[in-house]
Symmetry: C2
Subunit: 281 residues, 2 copies
């Protein structure tokens, strides 16, 4: 029997790190994949049901949270139903026949450059030109076919766009992981869910964050991540995006959420999903 | 008597928002100003004493913290000696004679585009091309002299680079402030200092952030800002950059710092300076 085919939405292009995360999360091979050039288009397609699930990066272990995605998910009405951590290695790649001495202009997503800062410090002759994504840079360099141009992207992109690896991995950190979220337009119960992402809005008064964190502490919920994001039109007030370990059906978690309702202006659950322990130790 | 002339280091170019913040912070007019194209070069010049003070943006009230600056300051050995909040308004500007209908390509810093997202959603014909800074975009558009090109930058940049305002303010938030830090290579006592920036490194164990925040709470120090930044090579562990109100000479603050030493892996003070209450209410 053929499994049901439901379209997946993927940020970026074939060969992008997000596409790699997608194929390792969704094992079925008979799904249609639509690629989206911006986070906003992808989230819109998930919300309106054009695709069943979407996958997009949320955080890199060297460069931090992808703030645009935090801000989009907060108000999107979408739900996080999965997470995937992927070890990310950046490579310098050029057209066949090019050597590292030929390279004058390098294209990549700004994150690719930031993760590879030290390499470019040692190669000041290479001009770094920001591009929309690592995979798009590889595609662009492949199509232009110029020996003096290179891209910074993953190995898969080199294979897909016919480029040759000239150096790498060139990222500074020996451990460089990116964390991805799988999102859905519908709330759904995930079997074995053990991680919760929520957004708190706090009163602008002393101790409000401390009291909110106290609710998790008292309930024994382990805080995994906390990211503050600005509230627009309220200068220097913040939303707090928080990941804690837990399952929403656990009575202890219920109690924590009730305590949070009393100690915050608002507390919204963005998802309850299975933590991926694969990428990091 | 002429006051001592000591060079100031400013991020960006004349006409940039940072330059505006600088002139409103340093009232003396006889200082030499050196401009730096990257945060890294500026911080390096401050550290080595090439300039006495440096000024650079740290946070925008709509788009959040400038993570690259957080990461640079943490390990730089520089000290924060002042803060300035500036109300920031973005304008679309073109060459004299151009009208808004002519514009096809717009140059700006990605922050300029993010702050003006809604405007560009309403003008899909305009292609947004990332540039190094708002002021550099204005300079570039002025020198190219093409009617179909525009920049997103502040009013001062339009005046300096001879451009005409075509639309604006085009930033979405009615209140859009950027916060700047003044940094020095030397530790110095700032009169009337009432705000402290510090960086905590916490044990990777449950409750560590809650306990650290408890030290501020018990000492009655009001938390103004908290930004988490990744620890390189320690996937999904974080530094916490924290601003609290207080003066390092206050015995109550001493007690808090002592308690923090016991409840954190490390606690480093980046500066004690006067809070600027000008930009935000």
């Amino acid at each position: 029997m053929k499994t049901e085919t439901e379209a997946l939405g993927c940020f970026g292009l074939p060969g992008a790190f997000t596409a790699e995360a997608m194929t390792s999360f969704f094992s079925e091979e008979d799904r249609t994949v639509l690629y989206f050039g911006t986070f906003e288009e992808l989230v819109g397609a998930v919300r309106t049901g054009k695709v069943r699930y979407g996958i997009l990066p949320i955080e890199n272990s060297s460069t931090g949270g992808i703030t645009e995605v935090y801000d989009l998910l907060r108000g999107s009405g979408c739900f996080i139903t999965g997470e995937k951590c992927l070890s990310v290695e950046q490579y310098l790649m050029g057209v066949p026949g090019a050597s590292i001495e030929d390279i004058r202009r390098v294209y990549s997503h700004p994150q690719g450059f930031r993760q590879s800062r030290d390499f470019f410090r040692r190669h000041p002759r290479m001009e770094c030109i920001p591009h929309f994504s690592t995979a798009q840079s590889a595609d662009f360099v492949g199509r232009e076919g110029k020996k003096e141009q290179a891209a910074v992207a993953g190995q898969l992109a080199a294979r897909i766009y016919g480029l040759r690896i000239l150096a790498g991995p060139i990222n500074m950190s020996t451990v460089n992981c990116t964390r991805f979220f799988v999102i859905s337009g519908k709330k759904e119960k995930v079997e074995g869910a053990d991680k919760i992402t929520l957004v708190l809005s706090l009163a602008h008064e002393p101790g409000s964050l401390y009291r909110a964190l106290g609710c998790f502490e008292k309930g024994g919920l382990n805080l995994m991540n906390l990211e503050s994001r600005p509230r627009e039109n309220h200068p220097f007030e913040y939303f707090f995006h928080i990941d804690v370990m837990g399952n929403l059906e656990d009575p202890a978690v219920h109690e924590v959420l009730e305590a949070l309702q009393k100690n915050t202006v608002s507390c919204r659950i963005l998802g309850n999903y299975r933590a991926d322990r694969g990428g990091a130790s």
